[in-house]
């Protein structure tokens, strides 16, 4: 296509919008940390409560990501390869967390495990604290990040078809062997990509966790809640400092995502 003024107008509009909405605010973060004082931001980042908050976030990731990976693969296989009653429903429920507000998720869990909830009293009797403790936060994080691995795995499974799996079967492989030797290697990039997206979501989750965690500094506070905590206490340097840490993590995740993508598309 010839380069006309039209090409440049479209390019200019697209890039201009990106700068206004994305790049400029992002560069402001670094600028703000600089203005507020790097030492103050550093003090906020190395504050014991902040370190604890990052630990909690990492623990949540460490529990949620493996669980959702296994679940996502199983779910993807079930959706693509099997026929069973209620398949449409399963499909819809896997997608739901993508469209549902994290607040609604958090609040639902709160109702389920609260003092007057369906499961709340039972857990209280057995001396297990679910709400305002790690278990509820894990549940909330799992809920919001359920779809990502399954979403990546499903189209890849469809694309590769099942001829190779059937070949493995006819050669006498068990279904377990077939999965490890044939299916998993074929979908590995989709799985890895899904894992990265899941991790990003777990790191950044706010709404659902904010409701069920009770937000107790040094105990159930995650990194994102820590940002809000600083902000509400009018500690701008602290808020921007912790936000910068999260931002660096997010950019790291983004770099991994970008590196993985072409490989996934080559398959």
């Amino acid at each position: 296509m010839p380069r006309t003024w039209r090409t440049y107008a479209v390019r200019f509009t697209a890039l201009g919008y990106l700068v206004l909405i994305l790049v400029a605010p992002l560069s402001m973060l670094f600028w703000r940390v600089w203005v507020e004082g790097v030492d103050k931001a550093w003090a906020a980042i190395t504050d014991p409560d902040t370190i604890h908050a990052f630990k909690i976030t990492l623990i949540l990731c460490a529990i949620t990501v493996p669980l959702n990976t296994v679940f996502g693969i199983v779910c993807g296989l079930a959706i693509v390869r099997r026929r069973f009653p209620g398949k449409g429903l399963v499909n819809a429920f896997v997608d739901l967390p993508l469209a549902l507000s994290p607040v609604v998720v958090g609040f639902s869990l709160y109702l389920l495990y609260g003092r007057t909830g369906w499961f709340g009293p039972w857990f209280t009797e057995h001396g297990v604290q679910v709400l305002f403790a790690l278990p509820a936060m894990v549940l909330a994080t799992i809920f919001v990040s359920v779809p990502f691995v399954a979403r990546e795995v499903v189209p890849t499974l469809r694309e590769i078809g099942n001829e190779q799996e059937q070949a493995a079967y006819t050669l006498g492989a068990s279904s377990w062997q077939t999965f490890w030797r044939v299916t998993l290697p074929a979908i590995r990039w989709a799985v890895i990509y899904g894992v990265v997206v899941t991790t990003a979501r777990c790191l950044g989750e706010y709404g659902a966790v904010a409701i069920v965690s009770g937000n107790i500094s040094g105990r159930t506070e995650t990194a994102t809640l820590r940002v809000q905590d600083y902000y509400e206490n009018l500690d701008q340097a602290g808020a921007y400092g912790v936000a910068l840490m999260l931002c660096v993590l997010a950019i790291a995740v983004l770099v991994v995502m970008t590196k993985l993508k072409p490989k996934e598309e080559m398959i």
């Binding site: 994305l22 989750e205 809000q228």
Partner: protein, 244 residues
């Protein structure tokens, strides 16, 4: 187990005071104001996304310039970035300490801005792959037959990328309706002015007013389901030729 049960509990709670109680909770002035504001702002954000998302996808597919791969990578940033950080970013640029002198904190305009940030990737990422598939020879043919540029776009390109735009817009809409992390900081949460539905649910829930919270939460749940159905419908329509 993880997804369905909590939702069942939510439905149950919203019915705790009977259908009347549910209706009374939804039609409370503050709840109505929050829902209206949320749907209105989400619609605006969805429209902005439809327009600029398509333009950006077009630039990424059809245009060639240095640094394109960087731009392409940056698009995903709002997915990777915690939303509360997004709120803080927009506040840093357009807030009280704004270096450009634009002070939008605690206004509806700020909410629109931050939601545009958060939902940027949806339309771009759904339109991009479809646009790659569009056959440029058809456009050439139309041009050689004397069609003007805008006609080529509206008659040939647009019909093929429209399903992509619509499902991207729908996803963005759903995401924006439920968004909270980026809003808590920037909106100020003034009832009747800048209080969004998600924040309303959050606040009512924290105050122990679970009937009010669950009623609005059920409305939001319904919106999510409707959006998923809509996307499913588009997908069916778009692939009807392949399936037939």
């Amino acid at each position: 187990m993880i997804v369905a049960l909590p939702i069942a509990a939510l439905m149950w709670e919203s019915r705790a005071d009977g259908l009347h109680g549910f209706w009374a909770a939804v039609t409370q002035p503050e709840a109505v104001a929050a829902l209206k504001l949320t749907l209105g702002i989400s619609a605006i954000v969805a429209l902005i996304n439809a327009l600029f998302g398509t333009i950006i996808a077009w630039t990424l597919v059809r245009d060639e310039f240095r640094g394109k791969s960087v731009v392409n990578a940056v698009i995903d940033l709002p997915f990777a970035l915690p939303t509360i950080v997004a709120g803080l970013l927009i506040l840093a640029l357009y807030g009280p300490h704004s270096p450009v002198g634009v002070h939008l904190a605690f206004t509806r305009a700020a909410i629109v801005l931050v939601l545009c940030f958060v939902s940027l990737p949806f339309v771009v990422r759904t339109v991009q792959p479809v646009l790659y598939e569009v056959d440029e020879q058809m456009e050439e043919a139309a041009r050689s037959l004397g069609a003007r540029e805008h006609k080529v776009f509206s008659r040939i390109v647009l019909p093929s990328i429209l399903p992509g735009i619509l499902s991207g817009v729908a996803m963005a809409f759903a995401r924006v309706v439920g968004e909270i992390g980026s809003i808590v900081i920037i909106s100020g949460n003034l009832p009747f002015k800048t209080e969004m539905a998600s924040v309303y649910v959050f606040n009512q829930g924290q105050n122990g007013n679970s009937v009010a919270a669950s009623a609005v939460a059920v409305v939001m749940l319904t919106v999510s389901f409707a959006v998923l159905l809509f996307i499913g419908g588009i997908r069916r329509l778009a692939t009807r030729h392949e399936r037939a």
